[in-house]
Amino acid sequence: MTQAEVIAQLQTIFDTVFLEPVVLTPAISAKDVPEWDSLTHISLMVAVEKSFGVRFRVGEVENTKNVGEFADLILKRKLEP
């Protein structure tokens, strides 16, 4: 799986969660999307973990700066045994 493929899958999740369409790019982050507040964030993370079958470690999502870094984190966790 590549970063682009991860972002494509993320796009479908974001399309479900957000009412206004958001086009995901590696550079985009929460502050660029009005609907993406701390509440929707919790919900997004639950959906992402389910969809990708991963579990993030405590505090690490907070440290990603944009969708690109977040996609890389998903990849890293997916590659773990």
Binding site: V17, L19, L39, T40, I42, V46, A47, V58
Partner: protein
């Protein structure tokens, strides 16, 4: 769950959005689904899409506790609004609940809540000493936790008159301490169980327990917790349990203003038994312990009987001929439910919606207090469409799931205690006490003596007439002649000098049984004919029968009679008194299929001894 359609409704500003939202909210189990529905709801408000069934009056709800209340508050707000009881929310700060409650000037009190929901911090519900400390020491600390929560609740209630909801405490789900866990009150496991029990048993009537222990247990201890979400954002539990917690709070708030359902309307074929009685016959239906399916149907009936015991009225609505439908109730040995358990029995070929509509005035209840259960989707649909006030439950394909479906329907839960409930409870309790006593007293005579029974015998008086007529018309088992009488006919007996009728009341040290026996004697020459002798079976073998005979003999002599004549008229239900007169010392004088006649000559009669104190005799002073 598909969100495409509901989003389209929202984008089109279609008011049908709200009905769709309600349906999807009902079935949403996942946190992110429910959360998404809630954001759609908020967006609908932002777009000024009006909810046609929205209520103007909002309940002011304050949420406070030892956790982040975010996004729990969001889910609660959503569920309450969709349930039709919208709330205006006030949230306490993270772990600031004690000072928010104790400080008289806190914002909580400015908000003036109608309902306050408290989630006390779990980390304060733990034993701080050593695992091997004495039980007294550990229990004292657990008691302090209980008192702490109760004091907070009391303080809030005193200041605001609000209803208070508090969570209790989740139990640990890890193997820690092993088997030692349950040998000490010092483990979180035992400590919290004890606290939860005491909290519930000592909750005053304004305090409602949101049973977090139960909810976590129902979901599964491991799935209930999420340590990461605690460290990251001070969440009280896993997101899955958060949904259940929010649902429970919404349910508690809903139940504060809505009465539970009162009537359960039952289908028959493939609901109470397997098969179709009109086709398969009495012997062909599946019911009872001879097959697994039959056992499942019987278990369902037992559960329904337990609902009846709690006060739910049972009714039947079946597409059948009446006699065929009633046959199992009368003749099938494995039936748990019998005809006298059913307050309204509709078996005919009219639409079920019409039958149920007809029951409401008959039982003097609103249709909104009815619940209808059927295994047939078409019948459920017709009731849903034509009597939408009625709540329907479509039973699944497997009868072994039927009990679970009813037990989880949340429609028949007892609510906050009214004085009437309390009275009923005290009645239950005195029954239980009586039974406990029965178990401790070894011989019957000393048991009866210990009951301290007192009885009042009274001639018929106008104020008793409705009760007399009611008992005369419904008493079946201990009833020698089953002569029925209307109120007017009872009054006629009362005013006729040739009749000597009397009623018997009984009380004992556990409670008052009320009017429990009725006798009507008719003087014909020198004979007192016993026209009616009936008694409530609840007081069998207490000596009431003997005292009634004493009284009857006394009245017969007073009316210048020298013999009593009794007759037993058999019915399908009064087999238990077939030999009653014989046992009471009467002589059998004639016997046929339809009647057994007895007599008792008064010169040989000596009054029977019992443990009942007769406080008053009938016709006293006449």
């Amino acid at each position: 769950m598909d969100f495409g359609e509901i989003k389209q409704l929202l984008l089109a500003n279609d008011p049908a959005f709200w009905a769709r939202l309600k349906t999807q909210t009902k079935s949403a189990r996942d946190f992110e689904e429910l959360f998404l529905l809630s954001s759609l709801r908020k967006k609908a408000h932002a777009r000024k899409l009006e909810n046609p069934s929205a209520q103007a009056k909002r309940i002011r709800l304050a949420i406070l506790g030892g956790y982040s209340l975010y996004p729990l508050h969001e889910l609660i707000e959503h569920l309450c609004e969709v349930d039709g009881s919208p709330v205006e929310l006030w949230q306490g700060d993270y772990d600031n609940y004690i000072s928010e409650i104790m400080d008289d000037d806190s914002e909580l009190y400015t908000f003036a809540p109608h309902v306050v929901f408290i989630l006390p911090a779990e980390r304060r519900c733990t034993y701080t000493g050593h695992l091997t400390d004495t039980r007294e020491l550990q229990q004292a600390e657990a008691q302090r936790v209980v008192d702490g929560v109760l004091d907070l609740a009391r303080k809030v209630n005193e200041k605001t008159r609000a209803e208070v909801i508090t969570t209790n405490f989740m139990l640990p789900a890890r193997h820690d301490l092993g088997a030692f866990r349950s040998r000490t009150l010092g483990s979180d496991w035992s400590f919290r169980k004890w606290v939860n029990l005491e909290l519930g048993l000592n909750a005053p009537s304004f305090l409602h327990i949101c049973d977090w222990e139960f909810l976590a247990n129902r979901l599964g201890g491991l799935a209930a917790r999420d340590e990461r979400s605690w460290f990251e954002s001070k969440q009280p539990c896993s997101s899955t349990l958060l949904v259940e917690l929010a649902r429970e709070v919404a349910q508690l708030i809903f139940s504060l203003k809505c009465a539970p359902k009162k009537v359960l309307v039952l289908d028959l074929d493939n609901t109470l038994w397997g098969g179709v009685v009109a086709d398969d016959g009495l012997e062909g239906i599946e019911l009872g312990d001879t097959s697994p399916r039959g056992e499942a149907f019987k278990a369902f009936q037992k559960y329904i009987a337990s609902l009846k015991q709690r006060g739910v009225l049972l009714a039947v609505c079946s597409k059948n001929d009446l006699d065929k439908a009633q046959e199992p109730f009368q003749k099938h040995p494995e039936m748990v439910l019998r005809l006298d358990d059913i307050v309204s029995f509709k078996a005919n070929w009219e639409p079920k919606s019409e039958n149920i509509r007809a029951m409401a005035p008959e039982l003097n209840l609103g249709l909104d207090s009815f619940v209808f259960v059927d295994d047939n989707p078409a019948e459920i649909e017709i009731v849903r469409q034509f009597v939408p006030e009625v709540t329907t439950i479509l039973l699944g394909a497997d009868p072994s799931d039927y009990v679970a479906q009813l037990a989880d329907c949340r429609l028949f839960e007892p609510r906050s205690i009214t004085s009437e409930d309390a009275e009923r409870t005290s009645q239950y309790r005195s029954d239980a006490q009586r039974k406990a006593l029965e178990a401790t007293v070894t011989d019957m005579a000393s048991y009866l003596e210990s009951l301290q029974m007192e009885s009042v015998m009274s001639e018929f008086v106008p104020v008793d007439v409705p009760r007399l007529s009611q008992l005369i018309n419904k008493s079946n088992q201990f009833n020698l002649t089953t002569h029925r009488r209307s109120e007017a006919e009872v009054i006629a007996v009362m005013n006729d000098k040739n009749f000597a009728g009397f009623s018997v009341r009984l009380k004992d040290r556990f409670g008052d049984h009320g009017l429990i026996s009725i006798v009507i004697g008719e003087k014909v020459g020198d004979t007192m004919k016993i026209d009616t002798w009936l008694m409530s079976c609840r007081v069998l073998k207490r000596g009431v029968e003997e005292e009634v005979l004493n009284e009857l003999v006394r009245l017969a002599k007073w009316k210048n009679c020298s013999r009593l004549a009794g007759v037993y008229l058999p019915t399908p239900k009064n087999e238990m008194v077939r030999d009653f007169y014989g046992k009471m010392g009467f002589t059998l004088t004639a016997e046929s299929e339809t009647k057994r006649e007895f007599e008792l000559r008064l010169e040989h009669f000596s009054p029977r001894e019992t443990k009942i104190k007769i406080v008053r005799q009938a016709y006293a002073g006449q």
